[in-house]
Protein backbone atom coordinates (compact mmCIF):
# COMPACT_ATOMS: atom_id res chain seq x y z
CA UNK A 1 0.00 0.00 0.00
CA UNK A 2 1.51 3.32 -1.06
CA UNK A 3 0.43 6.95 -0.91
CA UNK A 4 -0.35 9.34 -3.75
CA UNK A 5 3.18 10.88 -3.82
CA UNK A 6 4.70 7.42 -4.36
CA UNK A 7 2.19 6.74 -7.15
CA UNK A 8 3.13 10.01 -8.85
CA UNK A 9 6.81 9.01 -8.69
CA UNK A 10 6.08 5.56 -10.16
CA UNK A 11 4.03 6.80 -13.09
CA UNK A 12 5.40 9.42 -15.43
CA UNK A 13 3.19 11.47 -17.70
CA UNK A 14 0.47 12.01 -15.11
CA UNK A 15 -0.66 15.14 -13.27
CA UNK A 16 -1.88 14.80 -9.70
CA UNK A 17 -5.00 16.84 -10.51
CA UNK A 18 -5.82 14.38 -13.27
CA UNK A 19 -5.44 11.39 -10.95
CA UNK A 20 -7.62 13.10 -8.32
CA UNK A 21 -10.30 13.59 -10.96
CA UNK A 22 -10.18 9.89 -11.85
CA UNK A 23 -10.56 9.05 -8.17
CA UNK A 24 -13.52 11.42 -7.88
CA UNK A 25 -15.07 9.68 -10.91
CA UNK A 26 -14.39 6.34 -9.14
CA UNK A 27 -12.42 5.04 -12.15
CA UNK A 28 -9.63 4.47 -9.63
CA UNK A 29 -10.60 3.44 -6.11
CA UNK A 30 -7.80 3.73 -3.56
CA UNK A 31 -8.66 3.24 0.09
CA UNK A 32 -9.18 6.47 1.99
CA UNK A 33 -6.60 6.98 4.75
CA UNK A 34 -6.13 9.52 7.51
CA UNK A 35 -3.91 11.54 5.17
CA UNK A 36 -5.14 11.13 1.59
CA UNK A 37 -5.28 7.69 -0.02
CA UNK A 38 -3.62 4.29 0.01
CA UNK A 39 -3.10 2.48 -3.30
CA UNK A 40 -2.74 -1.28 -3.84
CA UNK A 41 -0.81 -2.83 -6.72
CA UNK A 42 -4.04 -3.40 -8.62
CA UNK A 43 -4.82 0.35 -8.32
CA UNK A 44 -1.39 1.32 -9.66
CA UNK A 45 -1.74 -1.12 -12.58
CA UNK A 46 -5.18 0.32 -13.30
CA UNK A 47 -3.80 3.88 -13.30
CA UNK A 48 -1.13 2.75 -15.79
CA UNK A 49 -3.81 1.21 -17.96
CA UNK A 50 -5.88 4.41 -17.90
CA UNK A 51 -2.79 6.49 -18.76
CA UNK A 52 -2.18 4.21 -21.76
CA UNK A 53 -5.82 4.33 -22.82
CA UNK A 54 -5.78 8.13 -22.64
CA UNK A 55 -2.33 8.85 -24.16
CA UNK A 56 -1.49 5.97 -26.49
CA UNK A 57 -4.95 4.86 -27.54
CA UNK A 58 -6.40 8.41 -27.56
CA UNK A 59 -9.56 7.44 -25.69
CA UNK A 60 -11.07 10.62 -24.29
CA UNK A 61 -12.64 10.99 -20.86
CA UNK A 62 -16.14 10.88 -22.37
CA UNK A 63 -15.59 7.38 -23.72
CA UNK A 64 -13.34 6.12 -20.91
CA UNK A 65 -16.09 5.10 -18.43
CA UNK A 66 -17.71 2.97 -21.14
CA UNK A 67 -14.41 1.23 -21.83
CA UNK A 68 -13.72 0.67 -18.11
CA UNK A 69 -17.20 -0.62 -17.40
CA UNK A 70 -17.01 -3.13 -20.23
CA UNK A 71 -13.52 -4.18 -19.12
CA UNK A 72 -14.72 -4.63 -15.55
CA UNK A 73 -17.48 -6.87 -16.84
CA UNK A 74 -15.08 -8.91 -18.97
CA UNK A 75 -12.74 -9.45 -16.03
CA UNK A 76 -15.59 -10.29 -13.66
CA UNK A 77 -16.82 -12.90 -16.13
CA UNK A 78 -13.32 -14.31 -16.51
CA UNK A 79 -12.94 -14.61 -12.73
CA UNK A 80 -16.22 -16.52 -12.61
CA UNK A 81 -15.24 -18.74 -15.50
CA UNK A 82 -12.00 -19.54 -13.71
CA UNK A 83 -13.92 -20.37 -10.51
CA UNK A 84 -16.19 -22.56 -12.58
CA UNK A 85 -13.32 -24.49 -14.19
CA UNK A 86 -11.73 -24.95 -10.77
CA UNK A 87 -15.03 -26.32 -9.49
CA UNK A 88 -15.15 -28.62 -12.50
CA UNK A 89 -11.59 -29.82 -11.89
CA UNK A 90 -12.62 -30.89 -8.39
CA UNK A 91 -15.30 -33.22 -9.76
CA UNK A 92 -15.09 -36.94 -10.48
CA UNK A 93 -13.46 -37.82 -13.85
CA UNK A 94 -16.72 -39.01 -15.44
CA UNK A 95 -18.36 -35.66 -14.66
CA UNK A 96 -15.41 -33.74 -16.11
CA UNK A 97 -15.48 -35.87 -19.26
CA UNK A 98 -19.22 -35.47 -19.67
CA UNK A 99 -18.95 -31.67 -19.40
CA UNK A 100 -15.99 -31.54 -21.78
CA UNK A 101 -17.79 -33.68 -24.33
CA UNK A 102 -20.81 -31.41 -24.10
CA UNK A 103 -18.66 -28.26 -24.49
CA UNK A 104 -16.80 -29.77 -27.44
CA UNK A 105 -20.10 -30.46 -29.17
CA UNK A 106 -21.11 -26.88 -28.47
CA UNK A 107 -18.02 -25.35 -30.10
CA UNK A 108 -18.36 -27.85 -32.97
CA UNK A 109 -21.84 -26.50 -33.65
CA UNK A 110 -20.37 -23.00 -33.74
CA UNK A 111 -17.94 -23.89 -36.47
CA UNK A 112 -20.20 -26.05 -38.55
Amino acid sequence: MIGIEAVMRLIGDLQEAELRRWIAERWVRPEPASEGYLFREVDVARIRLIVELRRELAIDEEALPVVLQLLDQVYALRRRLRAMSEALDAQAPEIRDAVRARLARFSGEDEG
Binding site: V42, A45, L49, A76, R78, R79, R82, E94, I95, A98
Partner: protein, 312 residues
Amino acid sequence: MAARNPYEVLGVKKDASEDEIRAAYRKLAKRYHPDLNPGNKEAEARFKEISGANDILSDKDKRARFDRGEIDASGAARPEHAYSRYRGFAEGEPGEKYEYHSAEGVAPEDLDDLFAFFGRGARAGRGSGGGTMRMRGADQHYSLTVDFLTAINGARQRLNLAPERSLDVTIPPGVRDGQVLRLQGQGSPGSNGGPSGDALIEIHVAPHPFFRREGDDIHLDLPVTLGEAVLGGKVTVPTPSGPVAMTIPANSNTGRVLRLKGKGVPRPDGRSGDEYVTLKLMLPEGGDAELADFVRGWARKHPYDPRRGMTP
Protein backbone atom coordinates in the same frame (compact mmCIF):
# COMPACT_ATOMS: atom_id res chain seq x y z
CA MET B 1 13.66 -13.74 -33.05
CA ALA B 2 13.91 -11.97 -36.37
CA ALA B 3 11.93 -8.77 -36.01
CA ARG B 4 9.84 -7.60 -38.91
CA ASN B 5 10.43 -4.27 -40.58
CA PRO B 6 8.67 -1.61 -38.43
CA TYR B 7 7.11 0.00 -41.49
CA GLU B 8 5.51 -3.33 -42.37
CA VAL B 9 4.42 -3.91 -38.78
CA LEU B 10 2.55 -0.61 -38.66
CA GLY B 11 1.46 -0.94 -42.29
CA VAL B 12 2.79 2.47 -43.34
CA LYS B 13 4.92 3.65 -46.29
CA LYS B 14 8.60 4.55 -45.93
CA ASP B 15 7.78 8.23 -46.33
CA ALA B 16 4.80 8.23 -43.92
CA SER B 17 4.34 11.44 -41.92
CA GLU B 18 4.47 11.51 -38.11
CA ASP B 19 0.68 11.83 -38.03
CA GLU B 20 0.22 8.81 -40.28
CA ILE B 21 2.52 6.75 -38.05
CA ARG B 22 0.70 7.86 -34.90
CA ALA B 23 -2.68 7.05 -36.45
CA ALA B 24 -1.51 3.62 -37.61
CA TYR B 25 -0.06 2.83 -34.19
CA ARG B 26 -3.23 3.90 -32.37
CA LYS B 27 -5.42 1.83 -34.62
CA LEU B 28 -3.37 -1.32 -34.03
CA ALA B 29 -2.83 -0.66 -30.30
CA LYS B 30 -6.59 -0.34 -29.77
CA ARG B 31 -7.04 -3.72 -31.35
CA TYR B 32 -4.18 -5.59 -29.68
CA HIS B 33 -3.67 -3.95 -26.26
CA PRO B 34 -3.12 -6.91 -23.87
CA ASP B 35 -5.41 -5.54 -21.14
CA LEU B 36 -8.20 -5.30 -23.71
CA ASN B 37 -7.53 -8.88 -24.87
CA PRO B 38 -7.16 -10.96 -21.70
CA GLY B 39 -6.14 -14.54 -22.37
CA ASN B 40 -5.16 -13.85 -25.98
CA LYS B 41 -1.47 -14.75 -26.43
CA GLU B 42 -1.45 -13.74 -30.07
CA ALA B 43 -2.68 -10.24 -29.25
CA GLU B 44 0.06 -9.93 -26.65
CA ALA B 45 2.77 -10.88 -29.16
CA ARG B 46 1.34 -8.54 -31.77
CA PHE B 47 1.18 -5.67 -29.28
CA LYS B 48 4.84 -6.16 -28.37
CA GLU B 49 5.78 -6.02 -32.03
CA ILE B 50 3.61 -2.95 -32.66
CA SER B 51 5.05 -1.12 -29.62
CA GLY B 52 8.59 -1.91 -30.72
CA ALA B 53 7.89 -0.62 -34.23
CA ASN B 54 6.32 2.52 -32.83
CA ASP B 55 9.30 3.08 -30.53
CA ILE B 56 11.51 3.33 -33.59
CA LEU B 57 9.23 5.20 -35.97
CA SER B 58 7.77 7.71 -33.51
CA ASP B 59 11.26 8.87 -32.53
CA LYS B 60 12.75 11.09 -35.28
CA ASP B 61 16.31 10.22 -34.36
CA LYS B 62 15.77 6.44 -34.10
CA ARG B 63 13.79 6.43 -37.32
CA ALA B 64 16.61 8.20 -39.19
CA ARG B 65 19.15 5.74 -37.79
CA PHE B 66 16.97 2.81 -38.80
CA ASP B 67 16.55 4.27 -42.31
CA ARG B 68 20.35 4.61 -42.62
CA GLY B 69 20.74 1.00 -41.51
CA GLU B 70 22.55 1.90 -38.26
CA ILE B 71 20.07 -0.01 -36.08
CA ASP B 72 17.82 -2.93 -36.95
CA ALA B 73 14.29 -3.63 -35.87
CA SER B 74 15.18 -6.34 -33.36
CA GLY B 75 17.52 -4.04 -31.43
CA ALA B 76 14.63 -1.79 -30.55
CA ALA B 77 11.95 -4.35 -29.82
CA ARG B 78 10.41 -3.16 -26.62
CA PRO B 79 11.42 -5.32 -23.66
CA GLU B 80 8.63 -6.78 -21.59
CA HIS B 81 7.33 -4.10 -19.25
CA ALA B 82 9.11 -3.91 -15.94
CA TYR B 83 5.73 -3.54 -14.28
CA SER B 84 2.83 -5.97 -14.20
CA ARG B 85 -0.05 -5.37 -16.50
CA TYR B 86 -3.51 -4.68 -15.14
CA ARG B 87 -4.96 -7.98 -16.34
CA GLY B 88 -2.50 -9.86 -14.12
CA PHE B 89 -4.38 -8.43 -11.13
CA ALA B 90 -7.81 -8.14 -12.67
CA GLU B 91 -8.06 -11.85 -13.41
CA GLY B 92 -7.44 -12.77 -9.79
CA GLU B 93 -8.79 -11.91 -6.39
CA PRO B 94 -7.26 -8.35 -6.29
CA GLY B 95 -9.46 -7.46 -9.27
CA GLU B 96 -12.62 -8.01 -7.25
CA LYS B 97 -12.50 -4.45 -5.92
CA TYR B 98 -13.24 -3.26 -9.45
CA GLU B 99 -16.11 -5.70 -9.81
CA TYR B 100 -18.57 -4.20 -12.25
CA HIS B 101 -21.30 -3.84 -9.62
CA SER B 102 -19.19 -2.02 -7.08
CA ALA B 103 -19.99 1.04 -9.14
CA GLU B 104 -22.79 2.57 -7.10
CA GLY B 105 -26.31 1.40 -7.65
CA VAL B 106 -25.55 -1.35 -10.16
CA ALA B 107 -26.71 -4.77 -9.07
CA PRO B 108 -24.54 -7.85 -9.57
CA GLU B 109 -27.33 -10.23 -10.50
CA ASP B 110 -26.44 -10.20 -14.20
CA LEU B 111 -23.15 -11.92 -13.49
CA ASP B 112 -24.62 -14.32 -10.99
CA ASP B 113 -27.05 -15.34 -13.70
CA LEU B 114 -24.10 -17.26 -15.05
CA PHE B 115 -24.14 -19.55 -12.03
CA ALA B 116 -27.91 -19.63 -11.94
CA PHE B 117 -27.86 -20.65 -15.59
CA PHE B 118 -25.66 -23.64 -14.88
CA GLY B 119 -27.78 -24.44 -11.84
CA ARG B 120 -30.87 -24.64 -14.01
CA GLY B 121 -29.14 -26.93 -16.48
CA ALA B 122 -28.22 -29.32 -13.69
CA ARG B 123 -31.72 -29.41 -12.29
CA ALA B 124 -33.21 -30.10 -15.68
CA GLY B 125 -31.11 -33.26 -15.58
CA ARG B 126 -30.00 -33.21 -19.20
CA GLY B 127 -26.74 -34.97 -19.93
CA SER B 128 -25.23 -37.72 -17.82
CA GLY B 129 -23.87 -37.12 -14.36
CA GLY B 130 -24.90 -33.47 -14.19
CA GLY B 131 -27.54 -34.18 -11.55
CA THR B 132 -24.97 -35.11 -8.94
CA MET B 133 -22.97 -31.89 -9.17
CA ARG B 134 -22.70 -29.69 -6.14
CA MET B 135 -24.44 -26.48 -7.18
CA ARG B 136 -25.01 -23.11 -5.61
CA GLY B 137 -28.72 -22.26 -5.45
CA ALA B 138 -30.12 -19.53 -7.68
CA ASP B 139 -30.52 -15.96 -6.47
CA GLN B 140 -34.07 -14.83 -5.81
CA HIS B 141 -35.26 -11.33 -6.68
CA TYR B 142 -37.74 -9.38 -4.59
CA SER B 143 -38.89 -5.82 -4.38
CA LEU B 144 -39.69 -3.91 -1.21
CA THR B 145 -41.36 -0.51 -0.90
CA VAL B 146 -40.27 1.54 2.09
CA ASP B 147 -41.61 4.89 3.16
CA PHE B 148 -39.64 8.05 2.57
CA LEU B 149 -38.41 8.58 6.13
CA THR B 150 -37.50 4.91 6.63
CA ALA B 151 -35.27 5.15 3.57
CA ILE B 152 -33.47 8.10 5.14
CA ASN B 153 -33.25 6.98 8.75
CA GLY B 154 -33.00 3.22 8.22
CA ALA B 155 -35.02 0.52 9.98
CA ARG B 156 -35.71 -3.17 10.10
CA GLN B 157 -38.62 -4.19 7.96
CA ARG B 158 -40.34 -7.52 7.40
CA LEU B 159 -40.59 -8.82 3.86
CA ASN B 160 -43.13 -11.57 3.21
CA LEU B 161 -41.69 -13.92 0.63
CA ALA B 162 -44.35 -16.57 0.68
CA PRO B 163 -47.24 -17.36 3.02
CA GLU B 164 -44.99 -19.51 5.19
CA ARG B 165 -41.78 -17.51 4.89
CA SER B 166 -40.69 -13.99 5.73
CA LEU B 167 -37.38 -12.19 6.03
CA ASP B 168 -36.34 -9.36 8.32
CA VAL B 169 -34.51 -6.87 6.15
CA THR B 170 -32.23 -4.21 7.60
CA ILE B 171 -32.76 -1.03 5.60
CA PRO B 172 -29.50 0.93 5.81
CA PRO B 173 -29.87 4.68 6.47
CA GLY B 174 -29.79 6.69 3.24
CA VAL B 175 -30.86 3.84 0.96
CA ARG B 176 -31.74 5.05 -2.55
CA ASP B 177 -34.70 4.29 -4.76
CA GLY B 178 -33.70 1.38 -7.02
CA GLN B 179 -30.82 0.23 -4.80
CA VAL B 180 -30.47 -3.54 -4.45
CA LEU B 181 -29.77 -5.15 -1.09
CA ARG B 182 -28.22 -8.60 -0.99
CA LEU B 183 -29.05 -11.08 1.77
CA GLN B 184 -26.52 -13.84 1.57
CA GLY B 185 -27.80 -17.38 1.61
CA GLN B 186 -31.48 -16.39 1.57
CA GLY B 187 -32.12 -17.40 -2.04
CA SER B 188 -32.90 -20.86 -3.42
CA PRO B 189 -31.21 -23.78 -1.65
CA GLY B 190 -28.23 -25.37 -3.39
CA SER B 191 -28.28 -28.90 -4.76
CA ASN B 192 -26.17 -31.81 -3.48
CA GLY B 193 -24.82 -29.82 -0.55
CA GLY B 194 -24.04 -26.65 -2.54
CA PRO B 195 -24.54 -23.28 -0.83
CA SER B 196 -27.83 -21.41 -1.07
CA GLY B 197 -28.19 -18.48 -3.45
CA ASP B 198 -28.78 -14.94 -2.25
CA ALA B 199 -31.94 -12.89 -1.93
CA LEU B 200 -31.65 -9.67 -3.95
CA ILE B 201 -34.08 -7.03 -2.78
CA GLU B 202 -34.75 -3.98 -4.91
CA ILE B 203 -35.79 -1.03 -2.78
CA HIS B 204 -38.52 1.35 -3.88
CA VAL B 205 -38.91 4.56 -1.90
CA ALA B 206 -42.42 6.04 -1.58
CA PRO B 207 -42.75 9.83 -2.03
CA HIS B 208 -43.29 12.16 0.94
CA PRO B 209 -46.05 14.83 1.17
CA PHE B 210 -43.57 17.72 1.66
CA PHE B 211 -39.96 16.48 1.58
CA ARG B 212 -38.25 15.97 -1.76
CA ARG B 213 -34.92 14.15 -2.08
CA GLU B 214 -32.19 15.05 -4.56
CA GLY B 215 -29.17 12.82 -4.06
CA ASP B 216 -28.21 13.24 -0.41
CA ASP B 217 -30.02 16.56 -0.01
CA ILE B 218 -33.58 17.21 1.15
CA HIS B 219 -35.67 20.03 -0.32
CA LEU B 220 -38.66 21.57 1.39
CA ASP B 221 -41.05 24.45 0.58
CA LEU B 222 -41.73 26.31 3.83
CA PRO B 223 -44.80 28.60 4.02
CA VAL B 224 -44.10 31.80 6.03
CA THR B 225 -46.38 34.62 7.18
CA LEU B 226 -46.17 38.19 5.92
CA GLY B 227 -44.79 39.22 9.32
CA GLU B 228 -42.05 36.56 9.25
CA ALA B 229 -41.11 37.52 5.67
CA VAL B 230 -40.89 41.26 6.40
CA LEU B 231 -39.59 41.29 9.94
CA GLY B 232 -37.77 37.97 10.14
CA GLY B 233 -38.01 35.65 13.12
CA LYS B 234 -37.51 32.18 14.51
CA VAL B 235 -39.60 29.34 13.05
CA THR B 236 -39.73 25.58 13.53
CA VAL B 237 -38.85 23.57 10.43
CA PRO B 238 -39.45 19.83 9.92
CA THR B 239 -36.40 17.73 8.93
CA PRO B 240 -36.20 13.96 8.42
CA SER B 241 -34.58 13.63 11.86
CA GLY B 242 -37.14 15.84 13.64
CA PRO B 243 -38.09 19.52 13.90
CA VAL B 244 -35.35 22.15 14.28
CA ALA B 245 -35.40 25.91 14.94
CA MET B 246 -34.36 28.19 12.09
CA THR B 247 -34.00 31.97 11.88
CA ILE B 248 -35.59 33.73 8.92
CA PRO B 249 -33.67 36.92 8.09
CA ALA B 250 -35.74 40.13 7.88
CA ASN B 251 -36.93 41.12 4.39
CA SER B 252 -36.93 37.58 2.95
CA ASN B 253 -38.74 37.04 -0.35
CA THR B 254 -40.61 34.02 -1.62
CA GLY B 255 -38.04 31.73 -3.27
CA ARG B 256 -35.25 32.56 -0.82
CA VAL B 257 -33.36 29.34 -0.03
CA LEU B 258 -31.93 28.69 3.42
CA ARG B 259 -29.67 25.75 4.14
CA LEU B 260 -29.77 23.53 7.20
CA LYS B 261 -26.33 21.93 7.16
CA GLY B 262 -26.18 18.18 7.86
CA LYS B 263 -29.96 17.81 8.06
CA GLY B 264 -30.18 15.79 4.83
CA VAL B 265 -29.61 12.11 4.09
CA PRO B 266 -26.90 10.20 6.02
CA ARG B 267 -24.08 8.94 3.79
CA PRO B 268 -22.00 5.77 4.20
CA ASP B 269 -18.95 7.90 5.14
CA GLY B 270 -20.73 9.11 8.27
CA ARG B 271 -21.49 12.60 7.00
CA SER B 272 -24.91 13.79 5.85
CA GLY B 273 -26.39 15.85 3.05
CA ASP B 274 -28.14 19.17 3.75
CA GLU B 275 -31.73 20.30 3.87
CA TYR B 276 -32.63 23.22 1.60
CA VAL B 277 -35.61 25.27 2.73
CA THR B 278 -37.34 27.43 0.11
CA LEU B 279 -39.48 30.18 1.63
CA LYS B 280 -43.01 30.68 0.31
CA LEU B 281 -44.91 33.79 1.44
CA MET B 282 -48.52 33.04 2.47
CA LEU B 283 -50.96 35.96 2.85
CA PRO B 284 -53.73 35.48 5.43
CA GLU B 285 -56.49 33.29 4.06
CA GLY B 286 -59.59 35.19 2.85
CA GLY B 287 -57.78 38.56 2.96
CA ASP B 288 -57.67 41.18 5.71
CA ALA B 289 -59.30 44.61 5.53
CA GLU B 290 -56.80 46.36 7.83
CA LEU B 291 -53.88 44.97 5.83
CA ALA B 292 -55.49 46.06 2.55
CA ASP B 293 -56.04 49.62 3.88
CA PHE B 294 -52.45 49.84 5.06
CA VAL B 295 -50.98 48.54 1.83
CA ARG B 296 -53.14 50.92 -0.26
CA GLY B 297 -51.61 53.91 1.55
CA TRP B 298 -48.12 52.39 1.66
CA ALA B 299 -48.02 51.45 -2.03
CA ARG B 300 -48.86 55.00 -3.12
CA LYS B 301 -45.89 56.37 -1.19
CA HIS B 302 -43.41 53.59 -2.07
CA PRO B 303 -43.74 52.59 -5.72
CA TYR B 304 -41.28 49.89 -6.98
CA ASP B 305 -41.14 47.70 -10.07
CA PRO B 306 -40.04 44.07 -9.49
CA ARG B 307 -40.59 43.36 -13.21
CA ARG B 308 -38.23 45.91 -14.66
CA GLY B 309 -35.98 44.36 -17.25
CA MET B 310 -38.62 41.76 -18.16
CA THR B 311 -39.68 43.53 -21.39
CA PRO B 312 -38.90 41.05 -24.15
